[in-house]
């Protein structure tokens, strides 16, 4: 009788060991592959670019405090030189170089150009930075002291489309910039200013 019990116990232990060993080796592996690619935000300056004093013989313009322009009877300044530049060589114009020639207090100019969304995502024209001054909406006017002498030398108005959304491949949108040379501008100097247009991708 003892031998029978011993035999049954031994057999049971053997079976349990065998099944336990098999259990420990059952595995299942799942793999999640995630592929991500991102899109591109891109915009560019486009022609046509225009200005009021655009050729020899064109009479100069002036402007009042409310940016009302009128044309005088002399051609002293100008013509204004405009040049689109691709600074990073990616095939897009990203800089517009504007040179006012022989300008003087009271001389006014207005430049127009176009911007185009050539990326793949809608963009918001988020802000404009005029010599470090940031504007987010409207048609801001800023007075600039370009010589650092404490007096304003020019004033600039940025017009059109600030805060607007541009869709990819949409028709280019026009933007204008008005410039008035002020009374305290120095004689015989070259004054430079920078206007940066900052776009952000649209998001939900």
């Amino acid at each position: 009788m003892n031998r029978k019990i011993l035999a049954i116990q031994t057999l049971t232990i053997f079976v349990l060991m065998a099944t336990g060993l098999a259990y420990a080796h059952w595995t299942k592996t799942f793999t999640i592959m995630g592929n991500v690619n991102t899109t591109e935000l891109d915009w560019e300056l486009k022609t046509p670019i225009n200005c009021m004093d655009d050729n020899e013989g064109e009479k100069d313009y002036a402007a009042d405090c409310d940016w009302n322009f009128w044309q005088g009877d002399k051609d002293v300044g100008g013509p204004t030189q405009l040049k689109l530049i691709d600074t990073d060589g990616d095939g897009d114009y990203d800089t517009l170089n504007v040179t006012l020639v022989n300008a003087y207090p009271g001389y006014a100019e207005e430049i127009s150009f176009y911007v185009h969304n050539n990326g793949k995502v809608p963009l918001i024209f988020k802000k404009v930075i005029i010599n470090g001054n940031e504007f987010y909406s409207g048609r801001p006017t800023v007075f600039l002291d370009l010589t650092g002498e404490g007096d304003y030398d020019i004033k600039i108005r940025f017009g059109d489309n600030l805060g607007e959304q541009f869709e990819p491949c949409e028709e280019p949108a026009e933007i204008s910039v008005s410039i008035l040379v002020l009374q305290d501008a120095p004689e015989g100097q070259t004054l430079t200013f920078t206007i940066k247009l900052v776009a952000e991708n649209w998001s939900p």
Partner: protein, 192 residues
């Protein structure tokens, strides 16, 4: 001589009969037949996913498709503020409970992971290329996981893993692509 042979034969027969009788009286055979039927560890999964710009501009796209034991999630045209979410359903179609015993995340070479705890993560673009998370790296996405229950400890019938990835500035590069791989290792449940 003949009589002697008959005696020997008779004696032998009697001895064999006695021995056979005794053997029949003292032998007992027990038989134990054992049959082991094993179970099966088998899981199936499915997935659904969605993004946050459907019905708006619908620039980004997300797709997930299971193929055997591999689930592929493809995100196209991601951009800052784009967000993808999804739910991976796992069904136990075998006959033994399954347990998630381990998972491993393999990232693209230029992406670094920061574990915030609670199954929340931050992904950084390795801008300085030193494959080490430091000040030069910028946040490109946040991610979170939600498991059915507190965590998938056992799958008797079904369970799910929900995920959300939010792409963000300033680290998300333009025109970038990368492949992530997550390996989930399941084992049969056992009392040990």
């Amino acid at each position: 001589m003949r009589t002697k042979l008959v005696e020997i034969f008779t004696l032998l027969m009697v001895a064999l009969m006695v021995a056979g009788f005794a053997y029949a009286q003292w032998t007992e055979t027990l038989v134990l037949e054992g049959t082991v039927k094993t179970g099966e560890l088998e899981l199936e999964w499915s997935c659904e996913c969605w993004d946050n710009d459907d019905g708006l501009n619908d620039i980004g796209e997300v797709e997930c498709s299971p193929n055997g034991d591999t689930l592929t999630i493809t995100v196209t045209n991601a951009y800052p503020c784009y967000e993808v979410s999804g739910k991976i359903d796992i069904k136990n179609v075998g006959s033994v409970p399954a347990v998630l015993v381990n998972y491993r995340v393999d990232l693209p070479n230029d992406v670094l992971l920061k574990d915030l705890g609670g199954y929340k993560y931050e992904l950084y673009y390795d801008f300085n290329g030193n494959m080490k998370l430091d000040d030069g790296d910028l946040l490109m996405a946040t991610a979170s996981l939600v498991f059915s229950g507190d965590k998938i400890t056992q799958i008797h019938k079904e369970a799910y893993i929900a995920f959300k990835v939010h792409f963000t500035n300033p680290g998300l590069p333009e025109n970038w692509s990368g492949t992530f791989k997550i390996t989930l290792e399941f084992e049969n449940w056992s009392p040990q």
